[in-house]
């Protein structure tokens, strides 16, 4: 039934996003990019891809940051175009995608103000997908409660923030906790929304979001070692919609070191592989990269089904990964640091 009516509202956008997807750089493009000697070479090569003239009006010499800005700008233009043409419930779905960027922006701004950076300097670093009207006034708040009452109450993030109001003041630790609490609430809410939408959307998105939740749980646990975060507090930060829930999360909550986290992953076939393939030695991929790789695989698979919203999420994620890849290569080229240039994550 869904496939009958899906195209009435979303056919155009799905076609569009699949078209955009075809513009994602292929393995050949990466092999060419890696051979670049200077950023000018990079620009020249990107011209022959779907990016075509996105850097044509930039004067030489080129900065990596300009490339980054332009990459983001291109993606944001595409996303905004889709958002402007979307109708319910796709529009809500697309809004959900932007929330994670909003969370990142808020945390960035708070951390920045904590370190006495000027707000205008910070604003330029924010991701344009996650900007909202009250964002720039965020530095009036000095406690989480103020933050909530003054800034966030009008934003869609308000319901997620309820759990953080009780925190006393804004220090590094609390900011991390706020970030993770927000993310937890956000992922769970998004998960619920996708479940309610049902159909292929639920199939694809629940898998993607479960992975996202589990990844966060793992990362939180690993990063918490050696900090003053108590195990109870830590357990509160785990998003409860992943595959780890509930047994894995309980085990993670008890973990004391990396080996125990690894032991938890042994029970889950897909995560076990990721942990096994990772390492910190040269030549081995970090766990983070492994997670990214797995995410890319999931997202590419998302395009295998039709008539669902997951493709939009997948596209944004893949494009984000592509930006990271290009920036990584550009940084390596700019700094003449070619030994690690190959550790990008190819998409197709």
């Amino acid at each position: 039934m869904e496939s009958l009516t899906f195209n009435i509202d979303n056919g155009y956008l799905e076609g569009l996003v699949r078209g955009f997807k075809c513009g994602i750089l292929k393995r050949d493009d990466y092999t060419n990019l890696v051979q670049c000697e200077t950023l000018e070479d990079l620009k020249l090569h990107l011209q022959s891809t779907d990016y075509s003239n996105f850097l044509a009006n930039e004067p030489s010499p080129l900065q990596v940051s300009t490339i980054d800005d332009k990459l983001k700008e291109k993606m944001v233009i595409e996303f905004q175009h889709m958002r402007n043409h979307a109708v319910e419930p796709l529009s809500t779905f697309l809004d959900y995608i932007t929330y994670s960027y909003m969370i990142d922006n808020i945390i960035l701004l708070i951390t920045g103000t904590l370190h006495q950076r000027s707000i205008s300097e910070l604003i330029t670093k924010c991701h344009p997908l996650g900007s909202f009207e009250q964002m720039e006034a965020i530095h009036v708040a000095s406690t989480p409660a103020e933050l909530y009452n003054a800034v966030l109450v009008d934003t869609p993030l308000a319901p997620y923030f309820i759990d953080c109001i009780s925190e006393q003041d804004l220090d590094e630790m609390n900011i991390e906790i706020i970030r993770n609490t927000l993310y937890k609430a956000y992922i769970e809410d998004f998960y619920k929304f996708c479940e309610e939408t049902g159909g292929a959307t639920a199939d694809v998105m629940c898998e993607a979001l479960s992975f996202e939740a589990d990844r966060r749980a793992f990362i939180i646990t690993i990063n918490s070692f050696g900090t003053e975060l108590t195990k109870d507090d830590r357990a509160k930060l785990y998003p409860r919609c992943g595959r780890l829930h509930p047994d894995g999360l309980a085990a993670l909550a008890r973990a004391d070191d990396y080996e125990q986290v690894r032991a938890v992953s042994e029970y889950y076939a897909e995560y076990k592989l990721l942990f096994e393939g990772s390492g910190t030695n040269p030549g081995e991929k970090t766990l983070e990269d492994k997670f990214f790789e797995y995410e890319v695989k999931l997202m590419v698979n998302g395009f295998m089904q039709q008539f669902h919203y997951g493709v939009f999420y997948a596209y944004v994620k893949l494009k984000e990964q592509e930006c990271r890849n290009i920036i990584w290569i550009a940084e390596c080229v700019a700094q003449q640091h070619r030994t690690k240039i190959d550790s990008y994550i190819p998409i197709f």
Binding site: N32, Q35, C36, E37, E40, D41, L44, H45, S48, A56, N57, E58, P59, S60, I119, E133, Q134, M135, E136, A137, I138, H139, V140, E146, N149, A150, V151, V153, D154
Partner: protein, 848 residues
């Protein structure tokens, strides 16, 4: 049969260009636009090629030009487009160009920066002016009430002595300007953060202000916030900062404010003059640039194109000359030689450039020299598939058959006339219309096919006259051959009621016996059996036209077989095909003519004329029934003739299917036996010097002497293993396709009749249902109604009959050509010749 019959003869050429002359030579070739360069280093990345730096410099120049163009457009200065075509400048001029652009860009940037600073200054002053004016109002009008309200609002302790109100300005305030759309959020935030302890007053600035960075017009509002205490002040300021509001100092007493306002006004005056001067300067610079910008663009693009092309070339071992490979039409070789010599002279090089023809087994590209008339027809053919190299091209025949088949379906002289006039208008005003750019895709399509439309209109008038049909009405030019006689059943029994459906019968005495000289007798327009009459006529016509066109297609295939020296195909494909077609449908066409000529209403009993369809079916069933009389034979001995034809047609099937594969197998087997001593003498591609010129030959030979065989691509030998199964399947597919095709394609031509009928009926419906209403009105109001009805009728005629029906007839014609006609001889698996041509590059660039 000029160049359209087959594609141009192409030759793979090798160019040896001295490195100092290469640029000038390529530039000459770009102006000629008749060679297609091949990429000799396909494995090399774009940024690892030889001239990548020059390409990059060009890209940089283009960027600067685009920047200038943007600025010029912003100031709405018209750019001069004289349509002149400057030569590509010499490489050393590139530095001058670069310097010029650099200077212009810097100047522009400086001017812009100045202007922006001035504008920002101006904006601030204007905002301050507005603030002073508005706050004056706040203070004056509501001096007391504000304070009272504010004190109330701030919850100032009521028990305070009244005396404290004597110093109301203990309340701090800030004034500023903010974007109007941000006001609601701003207000809400203020309220939340300060817990309602501030008082905000705002007023809109009526005139929009200019944003100095983007140059957009934005609406802003003045606001003033009253608050108490320093803590609140810092918060308010932070919020203002967060909402990008600009705060201005505002004196507290009216006198100071007035003074300040006067100061601001004078400064604005000063600024205005400075701004005007800056704008003038900017304008002057841009006007000067606008004169040249088109020429500059062309120059830079040409340089870029040349370096792109040079990047395709190979470097000689001694790196003294560049080696290029290109496809070029044989007839243009002299021109290319001339261009090369000109290029060499221009660059002042002493060693001439050399052009060698190479032999290759590779399939050359297909290149048709078209003009503005033939290009549209060629485009129709190319849309189906680019012709194989030197294959017979259907385009020259399509010039006539395409509009003709269209007109058979679109047969209406009136509609044809409108179409013809439209086409004529486009053709006559061609030059003016060509200069119109960006007129939309639909217009471009129509305009591109203007000659097709013209011919289609012309042919439609012709067939409209044959059908005697113009807007569903007939002309009676020569006088009808029917007379009103007693038994002419135009009136009913009492001679006053007109019978709406008159049945015309040629047997009646109303028919004079002589035939209307041209086209259909107009009397049929009145008759009730008109459709029955025209159907029979148009149906037979469709079959005749279809079979003739298919037969023509099959015959055209012999030109291919003979040209490519494929005798086997001539005997094993063409002969059975033509026999098959003739035995079945050629015979049918013959019967049609026989029936037309032999039977007539008066002399022979046409009631008993044999039916063609039944006759055809019976021919295949070998049955010849005695009753009814319409299934009798046409002529004595028909049974024997028809049996022979069917047997022949059936015999053609195995002929087509089996003979060729088995002969091929036999040949392949013989070759394997004899190939042992052939293999050793595999030929190395020869290099022949066609440089006949006596002066050049000495130098040319010198170059050829070091002809390294490895730079000449030895292309894959096309000696594939002979696979009998594959050939057999191929043959089976072809046979099935052809035999079924012959039947289904003949039936497919019946669309000529169907569409023609539909068109005639639609136009008649439009007339009777719409225009007739207007005609039947009497009196003065009738004239008004008829005008309205005419309008509706004209719109429907244009919209439905001309556009929609025209499009549908066009598409059906297209199909008849692509599928029914071309499938008989046309392969269309070639690839197009893409010349390196400046003209095309410029055209493409302007499209972007």
């Amino acid at each position: 049969m000029g160049s359209l019959f087959r594609s141009e003869e192409m030759s793979l050429c090798q160019l040896f260009l001295q490195s100092e002359a290469a640029y000038a030579c390529v530039s000459e070739l770009g102006e000629l636009g008749v060679v297609q360069f091949r990429d000799l280093n396909p494995d090399v990345n774009a940024f690892q090629r030889k001239f990548v730096n020059e390409v990059r410099r060009c890209a940089e120049m283009e960027r600067k030009l685009r920047f200038l163009e943007k600025e010029i457009k912003k100031d709405e200065i018209p750019t001069l487009d004289a349509g002149d075509n400057p030569d590509a400048p010499a490489p050393r001029e590139m530095i001058d160009l670069e310097a010029t652009f650099e200077k212009l860009e810097n100047e522009m940037k400086e001017v812009n920066a100045n202007a922006e600073a001035l504008k920002r200054n101006f904006l601030e002053l204007t905002e301050l002016k507005h603030i002073l004016r508005k706050t004056q109002n706040f203070f004056e009008e509501e001096e007391h009430s504000i304070v009272d309200d504010a004190q109330h609002a701030l919850g100032v302790d009521d028990s305070r002595p009244i005396a404290s109100q004597a110093q109301p300005l203990q309340l701090g305030f800030v004034a500023g300007v903010i974007l109007r759309e941000r006001i609601p959020a701003f207000e809400r935030m203020l309220w939340r953060v300060c817990r309602g302890n501030v008082f905000l007053k705002q007023a809109e600035i009526e005139s929009p202000l200019e944003d100095p960075v983007t140059g957009d017009q934005v609406n802003k509002s003045v606001f003033i916030i009253f608050f108490q205490g320093d803590q609140l002040k810092s918060r308010v300021k932070k919020i203002c900062e967060g909402f990008r509001a600009t705060l201005y100092p505002c004196p507290e007493t009216p006198a100071e404010r007035r003074e300040m306002a006067i100061g601001v006004m004078t400064r604005i005056e000063d600024l205005n003059t400075v701004l005007g001067q800056t704008q003038d300067h900017r304008h002057r610079v841009l006007v000067a640039a606008a004169k040249n910008i088109t020429v500059w663009f062309i120059k830079v693009r040409k340089i870029k194109a040349i370096y792109h092309t040079l990047n395709l070339f190979n470097l000689d071992v001694t790196s003294k000359c560049l080696i290029a490979e290109c496809w070029a039409p044989v007839v243009e070789l002299d021109k290319i030689q001339l261009g090369l010599r000109r290029g060499t002279e221009r660059s002042g090089s002493s060693v001439p450039s050399v052009l060698n023809r190479m032999e290759t087994s590779e399939e050359p590209p297909t290149y048709f020299k078209t003009n503005k008339f033939t290009s549209a027809f060629q485009a129709i053919i190319n849309a189906y598939g680019m012709a194989n190299y030197r294959e017979v091209n259907p385009a020259p025949y399509a010039i006539i058959t395409f509009p003709f088949l269209f007109s058979v379906m679109f047969g209406d002289a009136g509609h044809g006339l409108i179409m013809f006039l439209f086409g004529l208008w486009m053709v006559v005003r061609e030059k003016q219309l060509l200069t119109v750019k960006d007129a939309g895709e639909i217009w471009d399509t129509f305009f591109g096919g203007r000659y097709i439309i013209l011919l289609m209109g012309l042919f439609s008038i012709y067939s409209g006259l044959l059908y005697n049909d113009a807007f569903s009405k007939s002309f009676n030019i020569f006088g009808s051959s029917w007379r009103v006689t007693d038994d002419f059943p135009i009136y009913g029994p009492n001679k006053s009621t007109i019978i709406s459906h008159i049945q015309l019968s040629p047997n009646s005495t109303a028919f004079q016996g002589d035939v209307y000289p041209f086209g259909l007798d107009p009397v049929w327009q009145l008759s009730g059996n008109k459709i029955a009459y025209t159907n029979s006529y148009k149906m037979k016509l469709s079959i005749i036209l279809g079979v003739s066109q298919m037969l023509f297609g099959v015959i055209l295939s012999t030109f291919n077989h003979r040209y490519f020296k494929n005798t086997l195909n001539l005997f094993c494909e063409f002969l059975p095909q033509v026999l098959f077609l003739l035995c079945m449908f050629g015979y049918l066409v013959m019967l049609v003519f026989y029936k037309w000529i032999y039977f007539s209403a008066i002399e022979r009993n046409s009631n008993c004329a044999p039916s063609l369809l039944i006759g055809l079916i019976n021919m295949f069933l070998f049955t010849y029934p005695k009753a009814p009389c319409s299934s009798h034979t046409f002529y004595p001995g028909q049974q024997a003739v028809q049996t022979l034809l069917v047997v022949m047609a059936v015999l053609c099937l195995p002929w087509m299917l089996l003979v060729k594969p088995f002969i091929l197998r036999w040949q392949a087997q013989r070759k394997i036996g004899g190939s042992m001593h052939h293999r050793s003498t595999r030929q190395v591609p020869k290099v022949t010097n066609i440089n006949g010129d006596a002066d050049d030959s000495g130098a040319a030979e010198e170059v050829i002497h070091h002809d390294d065989v490895d730079i000449i691509h030895i292309h894959k030998e096309k000696e594939e293993e002979f696979q009998f199964g594959e050939v057999m399947i191929h043959s089976a597919i072809h046979t099935i396709e052809y035999c079924l095709g012959t039947i289904s394609h003949t039936a497919s031509y019946l669309r000529l009749w169907a569409l023609s009928l539909a068109h005639a009926q639609l136009s008649e419906v439009l007339w009777t249902m719409l225009f007739r209403i207007g005609l039947s009105m009497n009196g003065y109001h009738g004239s008004i109604i008829i005008a309205g009805v005419f309008f509706a009728w004209a719109c429907c005629t244009i919209g439905i009959l001309l556009l929609m029906e025209g499009l549908s007839a066009f598409l059906h014609t297209l199909r008849l050509h692509w599928v029914e006609f071309q499938s008989k001889f046309y392969t269309g698996a070639g690839y197009a010749f893409q010349a390196f041509s400046f003209a095309q590059i410029m055209e493409f660039k302007t499209d972007d």
